[in-house]
């Protein structure tokens, strides 16, 4: 398991949020969504997205299947699962309290 609050969990959180909000997407779609939603503040190194996606697939948080895409080639579409939704809730709560804590420290430092 990744260390809590590491870059890996952050990425997981982002992916799960995107998939939760926007429904099934392929890898490229996920990457662009993250960029878009964060207003260019977060730029994922695109290659590292895929091992993360496959890892989450292993853990059962997302599921994948090959479908025909708009470019008339097939692509692998990912969607969030029930377990993934549960994980998302838990992780986002932790993340919110973590960042609130950090902000408080910064305010009073």
């Amino acid at each position: 398991m990744a260390k809590p609050n590491s870059a890996q969990t952050a990425l997981d959180l982002l992916v799960l949020t995107v998939l939760n909000r926007r429904g099934p997407l392929h890898g490229y779609g996920i990457a662009t969504s993250i960029e878009e939603l964060s207003e260019e503040a977060l730029r994922v190194e695109e290659g590292s997205l895929y091992p993360a996606l496959h890892r989450m697939e292993e853990l059962g948080w997302i599921s994948a299947e090959w479908k025909m895409s708009d470019t008339k080639r097939r692509a692998r579409f990912y969607r969030i699962t029930t377990a993934g939704k549960k994980q998302l809730t838990a992780e986002s709560e932790r993340w919110t309290s973590f960042s609130a804590g950090v902000s408080r420290v910064l305010r009073h430092a």
Partner: protein, 906 residues
């Protein structure tokens, strides 16, 4: 993603690969399109997209690892790769596999024999509750004590059974011996079987159930014995009676008595002695009547089963009082016993040993030799492993560039090591299978070597699970031994160096040199030990036995209805019978020796060199009984002529000489004269010996030169020869240049003429008998010699391989030297310098190991000093020759390197 799909991905990696590639390529394509739409040219967009993506190969690897049973896929990959590698270099693969297979096969064969003889438990019910009784041997003062005695008498058995009544059950088991048997119909031929005696409850004690009919019970222990019953072994029943159930109730005739077959023992039970198979069991009470009541007649072993919760110490405590009583009784019977011996008897304690694997004579005699042979086989394995290791090393260094590439691509070191180990494992597993097959052939061969016709040894050499595990274990161990070091070294390549394709990495060859040194050390050790065993055998052969064993046939003759080989009892009717027997014996001797082609014929009771003997204390007038018992041997006139033992003084026996005379005429050998009279002139001297509690006077009428009696190893013992009396069974020595078959027919004819049921029972030659005592030495010499040869061969191949490779690598260097004007001889010297270093180091280590080994095995060698010059000289010179041969080809190749070609080479 389930475990199942992981497995599926492992088994079809290509599909997974394609999928991953496709997914990532798709991503890059989309990014490129997006960039293109933003205004970049297609090529630039593509490049940018790729850059933004990062290291796709690495990501693919990461993803693949996640989605697959990584280890399994890795192993399969390695295996496939290794297999391809083997097929590409078949010469290397075949050499490696063959040499390993030979070594593994030899080890497995020896281990399977050890398992059958020493390690495997008896196929009986709960074998770990069995025990065997023994007592320490009484040794002559000054000589080392022999193995424990496991023979007891029948009265002892009865007493012991009473003493341990509730703590254990005892059973009596005799060692199987060859006996003659025939079916009850009158014209049935006489056959030979292995016969053993067992007490009534013996089978039950062991938990053996009958396969057919019934086995003995306590009824069979009643004395006087009733009509005799017999039990056959399953294997004999199948072999001889074709498993016909009609055999129950049939009569077998042995020694003139008829025994009814009442049952067959269960399949797989052969007796309690590994190495000996019993075909027929008779109740113990059917043995010689005199033996059953004589407390000093030790003729069988006692096995027992502990009652639950009983320990060996408790049994020992119960038995010791009765045992001590018997020892006291024995001492009272022999008033002339020397005090030293008497003390040993009084202090001897009966011993109780756990006997889950039976009581085995074979184990006692051959155990040490077997361990030695196993040790030698292990050394061969080391050599083979070192050989393969150095070959692998050479190959690995050749693949240095490939390894470096992999390292630079991000391969972990463990991964590379694992891959090379898989290669090694594959080699050794194939070699293991071949070795297993080889062991199936070798093991029976080895047992055959040890077996004699009069004393056959058989083993159930089932290659069972234990042996299988041993074989696998050895294979895996050898794989690790020879695979680990090259793998570690190869994977530790610095990519930069290898990719630069520079040569001259002197350090890399150090490991190879080390392996060759190991091979040389092991091979030299083997050659030394093998030479020691060979010389030992050679020197034994050259010992003068004191007689001429060539052209002498040895025939065992018997008259019908023979019960035992013991001398006829001296009762009145016994004396008449004895006289009659003597008469027909003399008649036979006379008739045979007068035939054309026969040079001489002589008689004795049992043949020499066969382990049988009769010894008594010698009482010199005025000095009291001797400490040692000396050998007494009854022979006919013309014995010394037949065996060509020269006389030193006096005369041979005459027909009128017989054992009834007072004093009895005797012929002694020179050793006897020296020992007891301190002079070779002993004609007319008298001494006495005790027989059946009465002292008998003996006068010396002749002195012969020393001759060996039991074996060739010890110097000749003192022997007293006495005139031969009549006996139902005796030995006929015939000296003749005729063929053995002709001699047998001749003797048979004469025996039938003489009549009284006289016939030939066994045939052999004196050379064979003497040779049989050298069995262990022959085994050691044969195995030692073969292993030494094989080890030498392997070491030579290793040496050659390494030198060849080294020359190949230094071609450029040699080319430069040659171009700069180096002479051929200088180049050859350069190459040979490497050899000498390797040989020298290995020789020294091997020498030390071999000398240590020889010191440990002194007792098995004959006539070999601690640093025997012959042995050392032979071994060293052999090694120089081999070393020179191995080096000659590479040296020649180095010397004939054309500088121009060499410098052009990459």
């Amino acid at each position: 993603m389930s475990w199942f799909s992981r497995l599926r991905n492992a088994l079809s990696p290509r599909r997974l690969d394609e999928e991953l590639a496709e997914e990532m390529a798709d991503h890059i394509a989309r990014r490129a399109t997006a960039l293109n739409q933003e205004g970049l040219s297609p090529e630039v967009a593509q490049r940018q997209a790729r850059l933004r993506f990062g290291n796709s190969t690495l990501r693919r690897e990461e993803s693949r690892e996640l989605r697959v049973l990584a280890t399994l896929q890795g192993t399969l990959q390695d295996a496939r790769y290794a297999w391809r590698g083997m097929r590409k270099s078949p010469a290397f693969a075949v050499t490696a596999v063959l040499s390993l297979a030979l070594a593994i096969g030899a080890n497995t064969a020896v281990y399977s024999i050890m398992d059958a003889a020493i390690l495997r438990p008896l196929p009986v019910h709960e074998p770990d509750r069995l025990f065997v009784l023994s007592w320490p041997a009484i040794s002559d003062p000054g000589s080392p004590s022999g193995p424990e005695r496991e023979s007891f008498s029948y009265p002892q058995f009865l007493q012991f059974a009473a003493a341990t009544r509730r703590a254990a059950r005892l059973g009596l088991f005799s060692s199987p011996g060859v006996a003659e048997v025939r079916l009850s119909n009158p014209n049935a031929p006489i056959e030979k079987v292995n016969r053993a005696f067992v007490s009534g409850e013996g089978f039950d004690m062991l938990g053996i159930r009958p396969a057919l009919g019934r086995l003995f019970s306590a009824d069979e222990d009643r004395l006087p014995p009733g009509p005799g019953f017999a039990v056959l072994s399953y294997e004999y029943w199948h072999r001889r009676f074709r498993a016909s159930p009609k055999v129950i109730g049939q009569q077998l005739v042995m020694n003139g008595h008829a025994y009814q077959v009442i049952g067959i023992s269960r399949k797989g039970f052969f007796g309690v002695e590994p190495g000996k198979f019993a075909d027929v069991w008779l109740p113990a009470t059917q043995y010689e009547a005199r033996a059953l009541s004589d407390p000093g007649w030790h003729w069988f072993g006692i096995l027992g089963r502990f009652a639950p919760g009983v320990s060996p110490e408790q049994i020992q405590a119960r038995l010791q009082p009765s045992f001590h009583d018997f020892q006291l009784q024995l001492i009272r019977q022999i008033p002339t016993m020397p005090p030293d011996i008497r003390k040993q008897f009084l202090e001897s304690q009966i011993r109780v040993h756990r006997a889950a694997n039976g009581a085995s004579q074979f184990r006692k005699v051959f155990s040490r030799s077997l361990w030695i042979v196993l040790g030698v086989a292990t050394v061969i394995l080391f050599i083979a492993c070192a050989n393969v290791a150095s070959l692998l090393l050479a190959r690995a260094t050749a693949r240095a560039a490939e390894m470096a590439m992999r390292v630079s691509l991000g391969a972990a070191r463990m991964r590379l090591v694992r891959q090379m180990l898989t290669e090694g494992l594959m080699l050794s597993l194939v070699a293991g299978v071949l070795g297993w097959l080889l062991a199936r052939i070798l093991a029976p061969l080895l047992v055959n070597l040890l077996s004699q016709p009069g004393d056959p040894i058989q083993f159930v050499l089932a290659l069972n699970t234990r042996v299988l595990f041993f074989c696998l274990g050895v294979s895996t161990l050898s794989a690790l031994l020879f695979g680990l070091a090259p793998a570690w070294q190869a994977s530790g390549q610095q990519p930069v160096n290898s990719l630069r394709a520079s040569t001259g990495q002197a350090g890399k060859l150090r490991l190879g040199k080390f392996f060759v040194s190991i091979q040389v050390a092991c091979a030299f050790c083997l050659v030394l030990v093998g030479a020691a065993f060979l010389f030992s055998l050679f020197r034994l052969f050259r010992v003068n036995p004191g007689f001429d064993p060539r052209n002498v046939a040895v025939l065992s003759i018997t008259t019908d209805n023979n019960t035992t080989d013991d001398p006829v009892a001296s009762s009145e009717s016994g004396r008449a019978e004895e006289a009659h027997l003597r008469q027909i014996m003399v008649q036979l001797q006379g008739r045979v020796s007068s035939q054309p082609g026969i040079q001489a014929a002589a008689l004795a009771w049992w043949p020499i060199f066969s382990g049988g003997g009769w010894s008594e204390q010698v009482i010199i007038p005025g000095k009291g009984p001797s400490e040692r018992e000396e050998i007494f041997y009854r022979v006919s006139p013309a014995y010394f002529t037949a065996l060509r033992t020269p006389f030193v003084a006096g005369r041979d026996f005459k027909l009128v000489d017989n054992s009834g005379q007072q004093p009895e005429p005797a012929i002694v050998n020179a050793a006897f004269a020296r020992k007891y009279f301190n002079t070779p002139n002993v004609l007319g001297r008298e001494f006495r010996y005790v027989f059946a509690s009465s002292p008998l006077r003996v006068i010396v009428v002749g002195v012969v030169s020393d001759a060996h009696y039991y074996d060739l190893r010890n110097p000749a013992d003192p022997i007293v020869y006495l005139p031969l009396g009549g006996n139902r069974s005796f030995t006929l020595y015939v000296r003749s240049p005729l063929q053995l078959g002709q001699i047998v027919r001749l003797v048979d004819r004469e025996a039938r003429f003489v009549g009284s049921g006289m016939r030939v029972r066994e045939i052999t030659t004196l050379e064979e008998i003497v040779g049989n005592t050298l069995l262990r030495e022959k085994l050691l010499a044969g195995v030692g010699g073969a292993c030494a040869f094989f080890g030498l061969l392997l070491a030579a191949i290793g040496l050659f391989g390494l030198l060849n490779y080294s020359v190949g690598r230094r071609t450029k260097e040699i080319g430069i030297r040659a171009a700069l004007g180096a002479q051929r001889s200088e180049i050859v010297y350069l190459v040979l310098k490497e050899v000498t270093g390797l040989l020298g180091g290995g020789l020294i280590v091997g020498l030390a190991a071999a000398l240590a080994a020889i010191a440990i095995f002194r007792s098995l060698l004959f006539g070999i000093q601690k640093a025997d010059p012959f042995v050392l000289g032979t071994a060293i010179s052999l090694f120089w020759v081999i070393g020179a041969l191995a080096a000659s080809l590479p040296a020649h190749r180095a010397a004939t390197i054309d500088p121009v070609c060499a410098l052009r080479e990459e």
